[in-house]
């Protein structure tokens, strides 16, 4: 295994040291327990927003800490949910008296560890609301299963909830906005290669030179289906159709289209995938009102991409457009 690392056991720690040094004006990195927090936290009177989960999805979540987005991010080991302690400490560090929103991707581990942390925070008189993100249409939802995963839609929730908190919404309002985004966002992804987790040293699954995994998650889990490679329009169609049907998105909807890279797929290809997706939406008379193309919610060095559609209303548009200043998403400041 060749990676730009010191030791598989210290990758998260070493990367956090880099994050701290590269973005000193924007954020602070706390260690033991580890979390990333806005330089000016806690912001008095503002709802604090904390997200987190396993590492390996960079820039999620640490790259979204800053003005107008997250107050703190809690990184677990690679692909492993953090424990309650750092979540609790991050929650305390960002509570400015208006309570704290936990944005949690729907994985059993994330949900349980954030749940414990929320209980502990509440025991210390911090109001905590939790919004669980489950935008991945590759997974069948049901009362009897773990339900859908939270994937790239998370970044949209974090941006929009962050803007709501920044404009002064209270905890219930910020949580409601976050839930509204979650209700209106759908994603699905594919992989061309498997990621190599540093401590494993081998690809998370075997895949040949002509196969594609459809409906993958962001932790090197195999997808639901394996197919032969086909040109981009076919592949994008396999992601977009289930997304469109699910909400459903319908003619004359205004949407945000996010084409997200999984880590090792070049921007050149992401723009080609964007073009393929935009063609489908044009045919259906769905308006792309906002766009985002790049690597936002990744899976280490996996090649592949996901497509995310968010149905927008005027308020969501305004919150999306509101200024944001983080390492990985920045405008208006």
């Amino acid at each position: 295994m060749k990676k730009l690392i010191r030791d598989p056991q210290t990758v998260v720690h070493d990367a956090l040291a880099g994050v701290a040094a590269a973005h000193a004006g924007l954020l602070r990195v706390q260690t033991d327990p580890d979390y990333v927090v806005r330089a000016d936290a806690p912001v008095r009177g503002k709802v604090g927003i904390v997200s987190g989960g396993g590492s390996g999805h960079e820039p999620l979540h640490g790259g979204f800490v800053g003005w107008g987005m997250l107050d703190a991010a809690v990184p677990g080991p690679v692909f492993t949910s953090p424990t309650p302690d750092p979540i609790l400490e991050a929650t305390k560090a960002v509570d400015g008296g208006a309570g704290v929103l936990h944005i949690v991707k729907n994985y059993t581990g994330d949900v349980l560890n954030f749940e414990t942390a929320a209980d502990l925070a509440q025991a210390e008189d911090i109001a905590v609301e939790t919004v669980v993100i489950d935008d991945d249409v590759a997974v069948k939802d049901s009362l009897y299963t773990a339900g859908r995963r939270g994937v790239a839609g998370t970044v949209l929730v974090e941006k929009i909830a962050g803007a709501a908190a920044e404009r002064g919404d209270d905890l219930a309002q910020v949580a409601a906005i976050a839930r509204r985004v979650n209700e209106n966002v759908r994603s699905m992804g594919l992989a061309l290669t498997a990621p190599v987790v540093p401590h494993a040293g081998v690809p998370s699954f075997d895949i040949s030179d002509h196969e594609v995994e459809i409906g993958i998650g962001i932790h090197g889990e195999p997808g639901r289906e394996r197919i032969e490679w086909e040109p981009v329009d076919g592949l994008v169609g396999r992601l977009l159709e289930p997304i469109l049907e699910d909400l459903p998105f319908t003619s004359s909807d205004d949407v945000l289209l996010l084409v997200n890279g999984m880590g090792a797929t070049p921007l050149l290809e992401l723009y080609i995938a964007y073009d393929a997706a935009a063609s489908v939406l044009r045919e259906r008379n769905i308006q792309i009102a906002r766009s985002l193309v790049g690597n936002f919610v990744t899976s280490l060095d996996m090649a592949g991409a996901s497509i995310t559609l968010l149905r927008l209303d005027d308020e969501l548009k305004a919150l999306w457009d509101a200024p944001v200043e983080t390492a990985a998403l920045r405008w208006g400041r």
Binding site: G54, G76, P77, V78, F79, T80, S81, P82, T83, P84, D85, Y107, T108, G109, L112, N113, E115, T116, A138, V139, K140, Y144, T145, A146, R149, V197, H199, A200, S204, F205, G215, G217, H219, G220, E221, P222, R224
Partner: protein, 212 residues
């Protein structure tokens, strides 16, 4: 030995740590097939921390040992298995209470409490292809052994045997909880890593009682 004391509990934990360390790669391999490939790493990180804590602390009842295991797993494992197994040990510790030693009935109660803890947190049912599929037959076999007059060591022996069979029985299942649930039919033919690691821990408990 008829009742299981603090030494047993400590021996159990050390044996669990050893067996998890030994099978770390195997457990992560099982998890790679139907999950995210970290289960062995996760538990190994946790049990190493437990052993380090045990080297410092001097818990003086089985319940205190299990409490230490619970809090340490919760604060070091993360993932799904951290809070779930942590809760199992926490509930087991509560069931053990302050008793200096556990007889057969208390041992069964401890196992049942652990299993119930996992169910309460994780909402899995038997057949969902989770660690519950090791714990539930273990509790049932332990109860049967108790009903048949077994001592604590024999109760654990029965539990460990049943847990192993239970873990094996997850092979043909489609998962309804945990990451394996995302795979649908593709999970069939693979063992659930959490069931397997639970079977290892219960075997460690039985061995500690038999040989300790």
């Amino acid at each position: 030995m008829d009742a299981l004391g603090t030494d047993w509990a400590i021996d159990w934990v050390r044996r669990s740590a050893a067996v998890v360390g030994e099978h770390r790669a195997e457990l992560s391999g099982l998890d790679r097939a139907i999950g995210d490939g970290d289960h062995g790493e996760n538990l190994d990180r946790g049990f190493r921390a437990v052993v380090a804590k045990l080297d410092e602390a001097t818990p003086d009842t089985p319940g205190a040992v299990l409490k230490l295991v619970a809090t340490t797993l919760i604060s070091t494992v993360g993932g799904a298995s951290g809070p779930l197994l942590g809760t199992a040990y926490l509930k087991a510790a509560q069931a053990a209470g302050d008793a200096p030693a556990l007889d057969a009935a208390a041992t069964v109660a401890l196992l049942a409490a652990a299993r119930d803890g996992v169910v309460t947190r994780g909402k899995a049912e038997p057949g969902d292809k989770t660690m519950i599929d090791a714990w539930t037959p273990a509790v049932e076999a332990a109860q049967q052994a108790l009903d048949g007059g077994a001592d604590a060591a024999a109760v654990l022996q029965a539990a460990a045997d049943a847990a192993e069979r239970g873990a094996e029985a997850t092979d043909p299942l489609v998962a309804r909880k945990g990451r394996a649930s995302y795979l649908g039919e593709r999970a069939v033919g693979h063992r659930d890593p959490g069931a397997q690691s639970s079977a290892y821990q219960l075997r460690a408990a039985a061995d500690a009682a038999a040989e300790g």
